[in-house]
Symmetry: C2
Subunit: 310 residues, 2 copies
């Protein structure tokens, strides 16, 4: 018998979904259970997993329900278990978010609503995504989905990535160090989209130099992690008109403190880390698939490399 | 020598584009020219073409720069010439418009902006287009483009059309009379999108019966013609909550009169006939291609059938 401890705000849904899969030799435990401390597998939110880690001496595998697993990277915590995160399920949601905001801008969705309120027949021309250029910081599974959607709408995509060059929808690839190719990468972008995770290598990738290399018409969208952005430099670029807009789903501090100047920054929209929710039903399927691999002794999908941080 | 009369707000751009193509045996005329009345071909906006028609006895072909050619359908006007309209260029723009508004709704783009203004961290869940159902009224080239985009986002599409069943992205087709299949077509739709032109057959297709057959969660988007909608029935459905929203790019009267109740109708967005502008550069290419066919004696593309009205 293999024991699974579920540590989640949505524990009930996870339990139902896992039970419905009738997985062989699996016993489900919840935090109150007397046997909880003997669990071999844990499934849950990284914020809950990290607190439980010291109480789970037999843990061999933890499946995080999020993509971001920063809480589990604390150097004080154990790393003698296999950590897998949620991947492959967010690309579609992230694309909907990114293109929702890109289209809102091109089609003047806010401006038309204002015009309607003033009973003004605003037939001014709209823009189009077709033929515009999108720069992508990070080309993992989420970046690839964003690139495919951009391509579908007739955009060209430049991709900045540490390694992979696998996506045919990306017209040009750039590799670190980014500062060596800033002008080539950034000077003709209409949109810059970051899907970068929080790792030592990605800190403040979007800095004053990169922002200065963008044309003034450009809009920045961050669906990765706030740590990849120098927020002061971003606000300055927006204030001076060096950048025409920004949409931040993520920020350095979350929730954003009441006194943060980001709340009222010029031409900046905040969306409170909602771009790609982990729907328990979807994440449960990912766990179920991985559990079958675990039982069969196969390599698990989406294993996190602790030293790389994703 | 063949003479072409350009009748357009953007005559200068059209002239430049046509000249740049170096078409053989073509003389370009503008309204002030003494030879204007002898033109064999006319290119321009239907509102200008219809006024010029009686003054062009030698006209053999008119290329409209719009999709909608209602002004030229006036029974008092000649029909002894070939009329072609603009098609095949609006699908991408229309899709951007439709999906801009669909994503704005799913991703709560207006609500999040309100939350930001109130400095409220609104992390409420968003919706997704994936697995939702879109009903399409009209499946020509624009409808097909909307269907492809819906399919790209993981939606299922039901299509209502007089004839064609050519699009593989459409899961189920429905044919007139619509009232014979109202429940099957409408009862599970999340979005109803009309791209219907203004013809005798399409008048008030979106009537009280169709609106009543939609679930209360549904949103109606009109990028076709206003005449396809019973606007009073639409406002009643919005007022009573029988329908949760509407986005109208087109209305029965345009521009909308100041006293129209549509300006302030509940959960209704107006966008002032901006969904798919005729960009002169694009339309000029379409004319150039058709002129080459004309010279070669080939059938022109996008010929309008006067009795069908499109």
């Amino acid at each position: 018998m293999t024991s699974l401890l579920i540590l989640s705000k949505y524990a009930e849904t996870y339990q139902q979904e896992v039970e419905a899969a009738h997985l062989p030799s699996l016993q489900i435990l919840l935090p109150g259970d007397s046997a909880a401390g003997s669990a071999e597998i844990a499934l849950g939110e990284p914020t809950l997993l990290c607190r439980a880690l010291p109480t789970l001496p037999r843990l061999k595998w933890a499946q995080a329900t999020w993509a971001g697993i920063e809480p589990l990277l604390d150097p004080a915590l154990r790393r003698d278990y296999t950590l897998t995160n949620a991947r492959g399920v967010f690309g579609g949601l992230m694309s909907e978010y990114v293109f929702g905001y890109l289209l809102a801008r091109e089609r003047k969705i806010f401006e038309r609503e204002q015009a309607q309120r003033k009973q003004r027949w605003d037939a001014s021309l709209t823009g189009t995504l077709c033929s515009k250029r999108l720069g992508l910081l990070g080309v993992g599974s989420i970046g690839a989905a964003v690139a495919r959607t951009a391509h579908f709408f007739g955009m060209t995509v430049f991709g900045y990535t540490r390694a992979s060059e696998a996506e045919k929808e990306i017209e040009r690839y750039f590799h670190p160090p980014l500062q060596a190719h800033l002008t080539e990468f950034a000077s003709e972008l209409d949109y810059l989209v970051s899907v970068l995770p929080n790792t030592p290598q990605t800190q403040q990738t979007v800095n004053a130099e990169l922002l200065a290399a963008l044309p003034a018409r450009a809009v920045f969208v961050n669906v990765g992690r706030g740590s990849a952005v120098d927020e002061s430099a971003l606000m300055r670029a927006l204030e001076t008109g060096a950048l025409s807009g920004a949409v931040l789903d993520v920020t350095g501090q979350e929730p954003l403190p009441a006194q943060s100047p980001l709340w009222n920054a010029k031409n900046l929209l905040l969306t409170f880390h909602t771009s790609a929710p982990s729907f328990p039903r979807e994440i449960a399927q990912l766990f179920i698939e991985n559990y079958r691999r675990y039982q069969a002794g196969d390599v698990l999908r989406y294993e996190v490399n602790f030293s790389e941080g994703y």
